[in-house]
Symmetry: C2
Subunit: 694 residues, 2 copies
């Protein structure tokens, strides 16, 4: 029946089973009542899942999760990711009850400007939040990446001390999203048995019962991925939940799905089990009824919903955490003594991860990452080489450093990210690279999880055109400033024969719109190395490295200095004072720009070419630099880029000219397609003359 | 073992079984040999899958598919979508052999500029191609949408005559992509038994054997979705293939997966079964060996690979198609005679679909679509109303017309697309709307399939922030100029409390970068109605309707004429000659702009406000209109939009000012977030003064 899910008629009066004391029972009652009360008081927010999953969250935070409320980023902790981010009150309530410093006033202020309790959990904003979530499915895929990194850590460093369990809570929405399906399939193949996915099987979505659009057998699906499935028929029994979670966390070679039948909005009888329980208040009367049912006064105010004894009981989590933490400190010391080499390697990695310029990496004797970069021999002047190839050389060299971890979505050869070593697999958890499969979206989202783990800079690779599959994950990592490196090759219609579906046209412009993502398109081998230096030195958010499939020459007349490329834009070629016209370009088009500028110079025109590998960096450069590169008085400006050009008017203005590609490409030889789409020296020349003439 | 898939040792000499004549056998031999030869001759392209799947394609085109080579768009045809688009030679070879007009010279010219045989199949470019494919997974989801539309057609019009079977061929890549998983799950729930998904189970991807990243049990997964699975252990036996396809096409309430074990690059022994068979030539020697194995001269040239008898046999497909077509014409006439009412309704729909301005729709007596639009009563002046609400009214009214078909990704209430009627389901195939589930990507891709079916204008809806999940599908529909309507509500940080994950900032700018997509952001109820008129009148590609969550006022001083809004930009408010400063804006920000302009006017400054609901349309407007709206000499310009602003410099130049949002939002009341992010009348005013002062 649409609109009604699991049966709620049998839930009373024994609303929670398995509490070991009255105080524990009262703590659970508080955890259920708080979200109902807060949402009703505010008139908006999501209470239904926070109520129904309160016993589960209670068991996690009080019985199962290794965590230390006094030190939310304790390295030895297990992880809990709330993929169903709208149920943020579920998490905030536990962070209050177990002593992370969130107070009732914070809960009451949820979803208000400057509160510590935003509508969806935000990493870095609230202690105890492991990942920003909200867009559905992303938390599941992030958890898979985190579990993958954690398992590699344990494998490479011979230590159960570095072996957390990753728990993730997902609703039907998360499991309908393709990104979670992709990641879950890979988790099964890789045998990530440190991962427990808890599915809130409440049979309800916003538009109605799940049967309207989600009739599949989720348990069978997860079994088909190679997961173990633990069925929990009753989400209200603490002991049953504890057993399921502990069983799920067992290292038996398979990730685990804990399928938890529940009733959204439980224990409300009027709203529970209906789509109306998803969002918004349940009504004053119904909240009063719920409070009464839970043993509170029907008219209890917020402060009365957490009784002193219950809070005192719940706050024992602090002592429990301190004990776990102290015990872990001892284990870690014992491990370090027994495994000095592994400890040294890991410490170096940890140092390198935060500060790649320092000596670090899995093989510190190989020198630090920047020294490895410096040692790369650039191709001979006059030897054209694709920037994807130079990038491949960089990745191979950096393997010696060991501070990177990533792979490809089934294009390791074409994107030149194949590095020596072994692939990560169920039997090779410490492998060197990841075959993500043909799963661009999950790859991007898993890279976020690897970044959250924190030991390695994650990278992934595919064709630039397929960045379209990844944007939802990239946006979230930009929001978290996760320092992920996206390697995108085949960066224009110069891809050629594969045709318009594989030829990016709008992707560079579209990626530049994501706040906090640095889009970097180097123009030759030297720029590739130079931009990598900044990427390693300043891991302050995700970057997209946009690289050519085709060979392109070296910038023969420019001696590319790291500082120049790292400034995002610099004068790569100039005649005279270069004040007659400026031609701005990125990547392969810089060479067209220089050729056009040379022809102008032959006529005595003082042209300059500005290579702008990264707009975002150029914006961050100081004004004096920017004005020197692009003198404000120099208004005859041309931009050339083999992609959509509107945003280039930011740099060239109304009077400037933009040589760009405004429509899709076509199948044919790359050079022929470029020419047909107007990316030619002649076009740049004509544009320059026109800009000068105005 | 990585790099080797299914065993190829037993394939000789009986390379094809089940041919009913030597001529048929020779036709199959040609179909295998042609791709191998062509790719080797060109040095690039994809032969492996085209070779291995040649018997399957042969059986489809010669025995199973209802098609008419002389009339590729015959309405009664079955559909075949090649989701594994890189295997385009598989399709082109059949289009040659069965007489669609592709010649050997076309095959030889494949992947060349202006050839009829681009690298990936392109709709509208090559007769017989049903959908542009290439980005993996999209063809599967498109096929699900097409099957859904076809089944609805049959259900609503009581006719098996309108009941094609949709076949789609996918590789491992397609099945690893989340978009295919989402669509397949929904296909199972909806019981689309007119859909046959053929999986080329060759156990190989580009980076190695599928075990490296795809260890799941695909058959079990599809069973978990509610699909029937037919296993074919040998992809070389024509009779076995025919039986499997015919069984798959049976209407038994479930979609069918035909799992076809194959050897990529078969019958090559040296390259077959390895990742090297995916792309590139097999080498002259190996191609010679393959040709010999198939009974051709080792050094046979292209023309010798299709023997006259074999071609004559294959071209019997033309007669077979003509007979099917003629028979269908008779059935159609009989149906029309027996079901005059259904025939009248369908004819009206067909006419309306192509030309919504004409009287049409499922209930022609309700008047034509445009009349329905004209009859919508706009809110009282001074009554603020969210554009999503007005859009909802439009959708409800157009239900009477019946020319739209779509739904929502579990947000039908919030996006105001809930229309009266029943949901499509397994038992209600003719339902009025689709619950796509929480599957934004599959929704978008399925809308493409509905558009390809051609009877209805498809629409979908979600929050604007989640358009990020859909871009790969939107790009493909832009490439095909598929007239899909994307309804995106909650269009700025004014979303408020749900916070930055749900607040779009970069999406409007990012969508504008997709060539051929019209991004439309109306500023009030009148503009909503006006832009719908153009959307219905000119179905020339996908559109994104970007709508507010919050109430916004009516443009009281502007009498919004359809022609103005349909021009993409017009003067919505003006003081004096409006030549002192122009303030450009879209959507909710138009009202801020007007308030700022009023204040300037109070000081005697001749300000104008330009509402620009659609940049793409404005670009297409004639120059005189554009110059009247934005006089070239008027250089004091300001743009205001609650999102990333770089591209607005295209309209305001270097001297202009852009009031925009360059970083993510935050959780809080919508109005407070807007203010904190600088979208205020004061900010617009200051920008205008600054622009004037320059």
């Amino acid at each position: 029946m649409t609109g009604m899910a699991n049966d709620v008629s049998d839930i009373l009066p024994d609303f929670v089973r398995g509490a070991r004391s009255d105080a524990e029972r009262r703590a659970v009652a508080s955890a259920i009542a708080l979200p109902a009360h807060v949402v009703q008081a505010k008139g908006h927010g999501h209470a239904g899942t926070a109520m129904a999953m309160a016993p589960l969250a209670h068991v996690l935070f009080q019985r199962v999760l290794r965590h230390d409320p006094a030190d939310p980023t304790w390295e030895g902790r297990d992880r809990f990711i709330l993929s169903a981010g709208h149920a943020s009150l579920l998490l905030y309530t536990q962070l209050h009850l177990t002593g992370y410093g969130l107070e009732l006033a914070d809960l009451a202020a949820s979803r208000s400007l400057d509160s510590r309790t935003p509508g969806h959990p935000e990493l870095g904003h609230t202690p105890g939040v492991e990942m920003s979530t909200g867009p559905l499915g992303q938390g599941v895929a992030g958890a898979v990446g985190l579990a993958l990194a954690a398992r590699r850590d344990a494998a490479l460093h011979d230590a159960r001390v570095w072996d957390p369990t990753v728990f993730v809570l997902a609703g039907d929405g998360c499991l309908q999203e393709g990104v979670s399906a992709e990641a879950s399939s890979l988790a099964g193949t890789l045998g990530l048995d440190n991962l427990v996915l808890i599915w809130d099987d409440n049979a309800i979505t916003i538009d109605g019962g799940t049967e309207i659009a989600f009739g599949e057998d989720v348990r069978a699906r997860y079994r088909s991925y190679g997961w173990r499935v633990i069925d929990v028929a009753d989400a209200r029994d603490l002991d049953v939940l504890e057993t399921a979670l502990r069983d799920g966390a067992m290292r038996d070679g398979q990730p685990t799905l804990v399928a938890l039948r529940s009733v959204i909005g439980w224990p409300s009888t009027a709203i529970g089990g209906t789509p109306a329980a998803h969002a918004g208040g349940f009504g004053a009367e119904e909240v009063a009824a719920v409070q009464a049912m839970l043993g509170f006064a029907p008219d209890a105010v917020l402060e009365q919903l957490v009784e002193p004894d219950a809070l005192a009981w719940a706050r024992q989590a602090i002592e429990r955490g301190a004990a776990l933490h102290a015990d872990w400190d001892r284990q870690r010391s014992a491990w370090a003594s027994a495994n000095p080499e592994a400890a040294r390697r890991r410490a170096a990695l940890e140092a390198g991860s935060a500060q790649p310029g320092a000596r670090g990496g899995s093989d510190p004797d190989a020198g630090d990452a920047l020294a490895l970069l410096d040692a790369i021999e650039l191709p001979e002047q006059g030897t054209p080489v694709a920037t994807r190839k130079t990038n491949g050389v960089v990745l191979q060299r950096l393997q010696q450093w060991g501070g990177l971890f990533g792979g490809s979505a089934d294009l390791s050869g074409s994107t030149n990210v194949a590095v020596p070593g072994s692939a990560v697999s169920a039997i090779e958890p410490g492998g060197d690279f990841v075959h993500f499969g043909i799963r661009e979206h999950a790859m991007a989202a898993m890279l976020t999880g690897i970044a959250l783990h924190g030991l390695w800079r994650p990278y992934g690779s595919t064709y630039l055109a397929f960045s379209d599959y990844q944007r939802a994950a990239m946006r979230l990592q930009a929001l978290m400033a996760a320092p992920v490196i996206h390697v995108y090759t085949h960066d224009s219609v110069a891809v050629g024969e594969d045709g318009p579906t594989h030829q990016p046209v709008e992707q560079i412009a579209a990626l530049r719109t994501i706040p906090g993502l640095s889009v970097i398109r180097p123009a030759d081998a030297a720029e590739v190395v130079a931009v990598w230096r900044r990427v390693l030195e300043q891991p302050d958010g995700p970057v997209a490295l946009v690289l050519s499939r085709q060979d392109i020459p070296a910038l023969t007349d420019a001696s590319v200095r790291h500082a120049d490329a790292a400034a995002g834009g610099y004068v790569a070629w100039q005649h005279g004072d270069g004040r007659a016209v400026a031609i701005l370009a990125t990547g392969s088009e810089v060479h067209l720009a220089i050729e056009a500028a040379r022809r102008l110079a032959a006529e005595g025109i003082a042209a300059r070419v500005v290579s702008m590998p990264c707009w975002e960096w150029f914006e961050q450069a100081d004004e004096a630099w920017r004005d020197a590169v692009l003198p404000p008085a120099l208004r005859a400006r041309v931009a050339v880029e083999a992609g959509r050009g509107d945003a280039w008017h930011r740099w060239v203005g109304l009077d400037g000219r933009v040589v760009s590609i405004e429509e899709f490409g076509e199948s044919g030889a790359g050079a022929a397609v470029l020419e047909r789409r107007g990316i030619t020296v002649d076009a740049v020349l004509a544009a320059a003359r026109s800009a000068i003439a105005r």
